[in-house]
Amino acid sequence: MLDPITVNIASLNLALLTPMAVLAFGALALICIDLFVKDLSKSFFVMFTLLFILLDFTALIGINGPSRGFFDVLLVDGMSTLAQGVILISSALFIITALSNKPFKEFKKAEYYALFMFMIIGFQFMVATDNLVLIFLGLETASLSLYTLIALHNRNKAFEAAIKYFTMGALAAGFFAMASLILYTLTGSIELSVISKVLIARNFAPGAFVLAGVVFMLIALGFKLSIVPTHTWTPDVYEGSSAPLAGYMSVVPKIAGLVVAIRFFDIFLSSQIVWVQNILIFLAVITMTLANITALVQEDVKRMLAFSSIAHAGFVLTAIMVGGTQANSAIFLYWILFMFTNIGAFTMLWIARHKRNLWDTRYQHPFAKFSGMVKVSPMMATIFGIFMFTLAGMPPFSVFWGKLYLISSVVNSGHVVLAVIMVTNSAIAVYYYMKLIVYMFMKDPITEDGNIYEANSSTPIKVIVGITLFFTVTAAVFVQPILSFVTQMIQSSGY
């Protein structure tokens, strides 16, 4: 018979909820305002959202020390704080890109911003807990909002993208639920901490079922991280959605997914379950190789970048496999540095957004579009080039350092062969990044007027590019502070 539950407010430790709460309030407020005040301007929405994101951020910083709360459902440790930080920063960067030169329907809608904020909340919950329910909840909240945001772009491709993403998401949700069910059945708990205790106590018997749970979870998370074979949505969704959103998708949902993955797989890796290790290695290798190879033959820059982000995810997966402080810090270092560059790159595409598809019937940003760009707008070309080289892991730009530290962690864990495979992959990857550079710098220009490359640009967006570029180029200086901070946070949360 179930005994009644007594709750004492103090133990709820509601302070931990404030960041999400702030944002939730913001979202609701925005909708209400929209109801009463007609035709609010884009700028208002953006600034309003930005404001609340910043409030959220301050609230996040306000929380001190790792602690649990709300029936021990919330878990705010260093890692979650980090992840939330990343999420909020990139959200801030993203939302500003809405202030584009060209008008877009979605940016006029309050719902867009409200949904955006809800999505952020979703991700925040996802990373700020080790309870499967809450993870699931956050995941779905975020995803559902995200589907809608994509669809709001309001073009055929956007809908197609949304539907594809949605359907696969639904299936993934099913898998997640199944995974939770299996684990619950085995351990009688839906809290990862407890689950791990029980499993370890029982030495992971019965193996087949435990692993079955792992498999379902792997695929469910893999879908978020776009790990092969669940990656198929990525290029299509990126192509369908607006450039900045694509950039956002390649950073934020993944960091959230990564955190969950770290939390979940740590159970098995910390007690050397070889199977899990091997499977992760296998998937990581497949993911980066397949993505890189496929990226070689893409005609559209955005699709190419989509595959590249898959490859990057595969890259990071290796670190999850390795586990331990260095690896986990490596993940965050990598992702923070990757965030700036990637958002920068996608923003460049956003700037180059042009109403008519002049060069290709289907693609927005075919390579041909950029040929000879250096002649007509050298500045843009150079910046874009730098972003490309950075993504290729060219030293001394940002991603290189992440890569360095990440590979180092892999090497230190003794997986030298894996490390070799990784560098070989990055060598292959160079080709498709360089393809764009070749077009921009070595082909002859197809058009004389340079501003087609800046059709959609505006001061705020330029600022975004400036910021990202700055961090990309001068990364070498920031690596140390970031690294030490990240490491400290990771250690504090006991990974």
Partner: protein, 100 residues
């Protein structure tokens, strides 16, 4: 006497049915139904196990699943309707603009 195993098996079977549906169906609406079946299969499992352990969290989970399923349907149907308006069909194969 129906033991936990029966429930789990049932849930498993349902889940498989759901999966097969997801794989086979070309009609978006049907496909969404299949995903619902998936989730509900899991629900059964949770309810049963929660009863078995005498622990509420399972049932809580299934409640949340129901809620999420609902919202999924909301969003999903929304998209579906939009798509129908645009393309006049809800056949999966009509979604082939983007490939390669």
């Amino acid at each position: 006497m129906i033991t936990l195993t029966h429930y789990l098996v049932l849930s498993g079977i349902l889940f498989s049915i759901g999966i097969v549906g997801v794989l086979r169906r070309k009609n978006l609406l049907m496909l969404f139904f299949s995903t619902e079946i998936l989730l509900n299969a899991v629900n059964i499992g949770f309810a049963a196990v929660s009863k078995y352990y005498g622990d509420l969290s399972g049932q809580i989970f299934s409640f949340f699943i129901i809620a999420i399923a609902a919202s999924e349907v909301a969003v999903g149907l929304g998209l579906l309707v939009l798509w129908y308006k645009r393309s006049g069909t809800i056949d999966l194969d009509s979604l082939q603009m983007m490939k390669g």
